[in-house]
Symmetry: C2
Subunit: 310 residues, 2 copies
């Protein structure tokens, strides 16, 4: 195989009470990438369609992630990458992660899979470092593993995949405003009380249990974040109204996707997820901010191969 | 049925990173109780063998828990309770909880089970309030439900039971020293950093995942508590040496049982749990503090009925 075309999904990180730990993979939103072997050593980004992003591979997250992989392999093979971006950078649904994760996944396939998924996460994290300053796995882990992922820790890197309940759907609304990750980070309080932690962990434990047992009611009762969301949500116009509208229309729960500005909701069944999307839209239609709405089941597999060419 | 004899198990609360949330039920350590219907309204503690505890039902945790149950039922039936205590109060393995939980469980059986297990937890919590000042469910929940329990929250009370992996064994060492729960509480820091919380939640998520998937390695990798244990363990002589000995002999992990002074370890298989107990013992033999050692699988069912008499 000399060429592969893949779908690199968008992802939701910081799922409610799972700040910095719990992410999920989307199925209907994502980029496409074509990756092919080349006789010239190194990595070249030959085409980026849809967004204005650097072609220089040392300044492009996909390039950096693959360079990191190749360094470990000590390989002479070179690669060309075409990126067809559908996920807007800065939207809060893992745009850079899709590119980094997709690139290392594709290269690994073309090389005959020398690396585990976990190892690919660690390479893709270098792309995230370029994008945000921190080599985090919040989005690259769910993009590569699919389903829900727990980033248990970084030293050593430990990723736990949880298969998603089959009827779980995600509604994501992306308000077209700019929100810097650095601002969304700096607004967080750095000290929390022991009582708050216990309350947060109670919900987190409930959420994980609900995912393992496909208990939708428990998932809904657990989607609360009393620590991050109250501070961060003030950066997102009408967050409280949107969340209220989601819950009133029967969503299991709702929260900030990543560090925002996107807002996600989880629902049981696709019809409910669509209904929730309409309610989100009606709040934003009333304040004249443009937005996109995505409806997706939780993607159980992560990155998908669209085409292989020899 | 007019009389019932039950086994009311000891329990381990605050399982490692699950402070205030995660508890487990023991199988080979516990009290026995005989509960019988009486024509005299109210509750009488007619006998307590093994420990010097108040017979006055308003001053006895079992009495208070049952009075609470009867108040809700508005019943004219009375009960007599005999308690054969094997769990020493103040040991940190849920002595008061066994009595409270056992009493309401037995009474509920004799009344034809009008109440759910969760409701029994709420009655038994009133016994805990008498014992420690706080109506907590940390020990009464695992005693009544068996297995592992998550106390997700109190308002409303939500308990999640997790079935224990079948080869999971517990070793508990009870150092015969006095340690007041109030001292063990007051030593805790009340503020923690966001980073510490994320690290703790990573392990907590790993532990719950490990329990659901019977992944013993993951359970072992997750049994870390960086928040409570470092402060509280200084109240327990040679805690660090005991823990080190447990891990060196192959325990999956080790921590403080409840608020101490008991120390627990989890192991895969009974033989390993016994070996771990011997290592714990050898540390304490060298410092001349008396102790008990208990080896038990995790009790999947909780309280057991030994005998029913009409």
């Amino acid at each position: 195989m000399n060429e592969i075309k893949i779908f690199a999904p968008a992802t939701v990180a910081n799922v409610s009470c799972g700040f910095d730990i719990l992410g999920l993979c989307l199925d209907t939103v994502g980029d496409e990438m074509v990756i092919r072997k080349s006789e010239t050593k190194g990595v070249r980004i030959t085409k980026i369609i849809g967004q204005d992003l650097p072609l220089d591979s040392e300044k492009n997250v996909a390039g950096v992630a693959v360079l990191n992989l190749l360094k470990e392999l000590n390989s002479d093979v070179g690669f060309e990458i075409e990126i067809y971006k559908n996920i807007k950078p800065g939207s809060g649904i893992g745009s850079s992660a899709a590119s980094s994760a997709g690139a290392v996944y594709g290269v690994n396939e073309l090389l005959g899979k020398p690396f585990s998924l976990k190892k690919l996460v660690s390479f893709a994290m270098e792309g995230e470092k370029l994008a945000s300053g921190t080599a985090h796995a919040d989005n690259v882990a769910p993009a590569l593993f699919g389903g829900f992922t727990l980033v248990k820790g970084y030293d050593p890197l430990e990723i736990i995949k949880i298969d998603p309940p089959s009827e779980l759907y995600v509604t994501v609304m992306h308000p077209k405003i700019e929100l810097k990750t650095s601002d969304a980070r700096s607004i967080l309080k750095q000290q929390i009380s022991l009582n708050q932690m216990v309350k947060q962990m109670g919900n987190f434990g409930g959420l994980i249990s609900g995912l393992y047992t496909s208990d939708y009611e428990l998932i809904g009762n657990s989607l609360h974040d009393y620590i991050i969301e109250p501070d961060r949500s003030i950066l997102i116009p009408e967050f409280d109204s949107v969340k209220k509208a989601c819950l009133a229309s029967g969503a299991l729960g709702s929260g900030i996707s990543g560090s925002g500005p996107s807002i996600f909701a989880l629902s049981r069944g696709e019809d409910k997820a669509k209904e929730v999307g309409e309610e989100m839209a009606s709040v934003y239609n009333s304040i004249n901010i443009n937005f996109d709405i995505h409806i997706s089941k939780v993607n159980p597999k992560g990155i998908k191969i669209i085409e292989k060419n020899s």
